[in-house]
Amino acid sequence: MITTGQNRRRYSGKIVYIGDTTGERGREWFNITVEPDGTRTLRSQVEIDAAEINKTRVLREVTYTLDARYRPLDAFVRITVDDRFGGSSWFRFGEKEVECEGFTAGEGRISQKFPVSAWPKSFGPHPVVCDIWHLGGGWDWSNPATRQSWTAIMSSPLPNGASGPMIGHQKLEVDYHGEEKVTVKAGTFDCKHFSFVNSHRPGAAAEHMWYTGDTDIQFVKIRWDYSRTTYELVEIHDWADGKKV
């Protein structure tokens, strides 16, 4: 019997990274709580066994909190690269600056303050769940343009996120392709299809993303030819797009 019940929603799931030639080469567990005021916290654990383009094994821990508008509030990112400590860093976001306090194997103790002209619209700590969450704070549905861009804060400029973690910034260019029905191992979902143009990365193909839901922006699938990998939702538990299960 719970005498003083919890008011938050919570849901969880798993994503697998499937390389074109290697099969499963990584996996990501996500666990999300949403407080009554819409504050959202992601706990993510990511294992990358090896990659087509980065020959490193990665273990990544992310605890990332956003407000009801998907704007980043604070985050913790810890990475282990090839079974060795890579870095442990704490990020805090505001309307005038982003700050990072961390310790990395390469740089030692770091303190960063990065001035911004407005509260950052999105943060990329590198779980693929967060690739899609860029759209939560960044995409403006009141704007009819099907290509939009904004500057995001990143924890690493590498595709696998295996550096830092520390503050970086990146201009995102995003195309909206419309609605599609997508089937993955976890089920069939009505999705919105977007892609990152990736013009900043020479030779890189566009990263295509599909998410479902209006309130929760739920990851369904990513396909990125550059990494020769498809990322698919394989499990989801207790999720009902904004409703408590």
């Binding site: 005498t3 919890q6 008011n7 938050r8 290697t22 407080e35 009554p36 916290t41 913790f76 400590f85």
Partner: protein
């Protein structure tokens, strides 16, 4: 070619059972152990309410220890009564502890505290960590009652303050081996007690753990009229 995974992984769930109110909280834990013995805990704790603290709590902790169970770094985030309370990052070293954080009460703060040596344990307040203090126990010593210094993220029994650095001390007594049955199974355990005699009104906190991973099995603390039991456990 996919490279073999080398780290170990185990996870589980603990329930907090109040004597009068039944389940009043729960804790999910997930632990990885790297080939070099580095151990990372991810814990999520929900406290619904209690007979001594009328605060609902959500706590996220990521704590990494080295192969000798010495704390390396940690992240602690707490929400109380559905509102942000604090988000803090801790780093430990030989002779110091530092904390960078932001709390609803104190705002942005930076702490650096000098200590005698590398702290032997860190109390981030998941009950898993209550037991992990006991990694500081010196089995080479014949003493059945031992004391050592520790660092805490909050002086409150619920952990509902800060998070920030607090210096504290552990006093533990070893009561021997016992077989203990909880919902997750029956375990051969070591039974310890924290006498907690320094705090007026506190009763002893009894702890039982199993194995070299110091797997949480059970805690009983009369002060909170609560039994904490391992309800689920998985390896791999």
């Amino acid at each position: 070619m996919t490279e073999p995974k080398k780290r170990r992984h185990y996870s589980g769930k603990i329930v907090y059972i109040g004597d009068e109110i039944g389940e009043r909280g729960r804790e999910w834990f997930d632990v990885t152990v790297e080939p070099d013995g580095t151990r990372t805990l991810r814990a999520k704790c929900e406290i619904d309410g209690s007979t001594v603290h009328n605060t609902r709590l959500l706590r996220d902790v990521t704590l990494t220890l080295d192969a000798n169970w010495l704390p390396q770094d940690a992240f602690v985030r707490i929400s109380a009564n559905d509102r942000f309370m604090g988000s803090s990052w801790f780093r430990f070293g030989n002779g110091f502890v530092e904390c960078e954080g932001f709390t609803a009460g104190e705002g942005r703060f930076s702490q650096r505290v000098e200590v005698d040596s590398w702290p032997r344990s860190f109390g981030a307040h998941p009950v898993v960590c209550d037991i992990w203090h006991l990694a500081g126990w010196d089995w080479a010593s014949p003493e059945k009652s031992q004391r050592w210094k520790t660092i805490m993220s909050s002086p409150l029994s619920s952990g509902a303050s800060g998070p920030m650095i607090g210096k504290s001390g552990i006093h533990a007594e070893y009561l021997g081996k016992e077989k203990v049955t909880v919902k997750a199974g029956t375990f051969d355990t070591h039974h310890f007690v924290y006498p907690l005699t320094k705090t007026p009104g506190f009763t002893p906190e009894h702890c039982w753990y199993a194995g070299d991973d110091l797997l949480f099995v059970k805690i009983r603390w009369d002060t909170l009229k609560t039994t904490y039991e391992l309800a689920e456990y998985r390896e791999g």
